[in-house]
Symmetry: C2
Subunit: 294 residues, 2 copies
C-alpha cells in the first residue's frame, strides 16, 4: 500500500474516481433536456471534481462484503456524492456560509444566481433519492434518509449555523462534526454493506470504521482551513475563522486536534484489520484521509 519511499499508492482511488465521474455524467440529466439552465447548474457543481470519497467508500464496502452487482451499487454510490454536492451548494449560499469559491471555481450562486442555486440543490437532493431507489433496496433508502435528515447531516448543519460566533465546548463540536460530515461518511460504508447483505456483526464493525474516518475527515478539514494551501484546496482558507465557525482546533487547539485525527485514523485501521472481507482497501482510504492536503 505504501511504497518504499513512504508515498501512499493511490492508484486504486484514482481509478475509482475516474469510474465514478463517468457514472455521474451518465446519471445527471443532459443539458440538452429542458429545463436546460437547471440541468446545467446541477452538472456545474457535481462535475467540478472532488475526492469522490463517499462513493468510493460505498463501492469498496460493497465489494469487500461480497457484493457483485454494479447495477445496484453504482446508483446508490453516486447518490451519496450527489447529496454531498447539494449540501455544499446550500451551505455556500449568502444566507449560510456566503462562500465565493468552491473547488477552485465560483460557487453556484456566484456563477448562476441564488434562485438557481436553491433549485439546483433541491434537484440534486431528489436525484440522490431517485438513484438510491434504483438500488432496489428500501433499506438503503431508509439508511440514506436517516443519515441526511435532522438526526444526521442537517442536524449538524443547523447546529453549525447556531454555533457561529459562540463559545462552544468539546461535546458540541463533536456533535456538529459527527452529524454534519460523519453521518454521511458512515452511511457510505453502511450502504455498501447493507446492499451486499452483510451480517449484523460485520455491519457494526463497518459502521465503527465509518465513524472514525468521518470524524477524522472533518478535523483534518478544519486543520486544512488554517494551514492548507488555497491553491490545492480550491477554496478560501481561513474562512472558518472569518465566519467565526465552530472548529475542532478552535476548541482543543491545533496540536491536540492533529493528535486526535491520527488516533482516529489508527483506530479505523485497527477495525479494518478485524474485517472478514479485504480490509486492505479500507486501510488505504483511512491512510489517504490522514494524509490529505486538499
Amino acid at each position: 500500500m505504501t511504497s518504499e519511499t513512504g508515498v501512499l499508492d493511490i492508484s486504486y482511488l484514482k481509478a475509482r474516481r475516474k469510474e465514478i465521474d463517468i457514472l455521474l455524467d451518465k446519471y445527471l440529466p443532459p443539458v440538452e433536456k429542458y429545463p436546460h439552465r437547471l440541468h446545467e447548474a446541477m452538472r456545474y457543481s457535481v462535475m467540478a471534481g472532488g475526492k469522490r470519497i463517499r462513493p468510493i467508500l460505498a463501492m469498496t464496502a460493497y465489494e469487500a462484503c461480497g457484493g457483485k452487482n454494479p447495477d445496484l451499487i453504482n446508483p446508490a454510490s453516486c447518490a451519496l456524492e450527489i447529496v454531498h454536492t447539494y449540501s455544499l451548494i446550500h451551505d455556500d449560499l449568502p444566507c449560510m456560509d456566503d462562500d465565493d469559491l468552491r473547488r477552485g471555481m465560483p460557487t453556484l450562486h456566484k456563477k448562476f444566481d441564488e434562485a438557481t442555486a436553491v433549485l439546483a440543490g433541491d434537484a440534486l437532493h431528489v436525484l440522490a433519492f431517485q438513484l438510491a431507489a434504483e438500488s432496489g433496496s428500501i433499506e438503503v433508502v431508509k439508511e440514506f434518509s436517516q443519515a441526511i435528515g435532522t438526526n444526521g447531516m442537517l442536524g449538524g448543519q443547523m447546529a453549525d449555523v447556531e454555533a457561529e460566533g459562540k463559545v462552544i465546548d468539546l461535546e458540541k463540536i463533536q456533535y456538529i462534526h459527527a452529524h454534519k460530515t460523519g453521518a454521511l461518511l458512515r452511511a457510505s460504508v453502511r450502504i455498501g454493506g447493507i446492499l451486499a447483505g452483510v451480517s449484523k456483526a460485520e455491519l457494526g464493525k463497518i459502521s465503527l470504521y465509518g465513524e472514525r474516518i468521518g470524524l477524522a475527515f472533518q478535523i483534518i478539514d478544519d486543520i486544512l482551513d488554517i494551514e492548507g494551501e488555497q491553491e490545492k484546496l480550491g477554496k478560501q482558507v481561513g474562512s472558518d475563522c472569518r465566519n467565526q465557525k465552530a472548529t475542532y482546533p478552535g476548541v482543543v487547539g491545533i496540536e491536540k486536534a492533529r493528535t486526535e485525527a491520527h488516533q482516529l485514523i489508527d483506530e479505523a485501521i485497527d477495525v479494518s484489520r478485524s474485517l472478514n472481507g479485504n480490509g486492505e482497501k479500507f486501510i488505504l482510504i483511512a491512510r489517504y484521509i490522514g494524509q490529505r492536503d486538499r
Copy 2:
C-alpha cells in the same frame, strides 16, 4: 354529494383533514428533540394548516382501489403534504418569490431567518422520502422522486422563475402548471393506486383524473390571486402580477381561464364515473377544487 341548496357537503374532506393533521403531528420530529430550532421551524410551516388536498387524494385513491393498510398509506400520504410544504418554504425565499405571508402567517424566513428556512425546507424534503420509504414500496419512492424532480415539480419551478417578466405562450404556461403543481397532484392519486396494487388500466384512468384536477387547481389558484380575498387566502393577492409571474389568465384572459378550469373539472368527473372503485369521493374532490375560494 351536493345538498338541495347546492352547497357541497365537505364533511368527508374535513374529517380527513383532521386525521391528517394528527398524523403530521406524529410524524414530525418533536421540538423537544435537538436541534430544537430546526424542528420548531419544520412544525411551524407544516402545522400552519392548509387544504391537505394531496394526502386526501392519496388516501382516497388507496381506499377506492381496495387498499386496506393505513400503516402503509398514512406515511406515504403525509410525505406528499410535507414535500408540498418544503416547496412553498423555498418558493417564498427572498431570492425566489420573496413572499412575506403564507396561510395568514409570516413566511418561515420572516418568522425565523433565511438560513433556517433553507435548512427546514431541506429537512422536510428528507423527511418526505423517509415517510415514502415507510410505505415499504420502492415503486412509491420512485414515483415520488419522478414527480418532484426536474421532470416534475422542480422543472416547473425553474421554468416559472425563468418566465418572470417575459411574454410567454400557452404551451409554456401549460408546461409550468402541469409540472410545478400538476405533477405532485397526479402523483398523489397514483401513489394511492400503486400502493393498493391497482391494474395498469385503472392506474391510467386515475392518472388522467390527477392531471385534470392538477391543471384546474393551478388555473383556479391564478384566478384567486386576481379575484380572491386576502383574508380567506391567507396570502397577499395580486402578488403574481406584482412579481410579473406567468399565469394562465395572463396568457388566455380571465374568462377563458375560468371556462377551461370548469371544463377540466368536468373531464375529471367523467373519468371518476368510469372508475371501478367508488368514484363518488373523486367527484367530491373535483367539485371542491372547482368551487374553492381559498
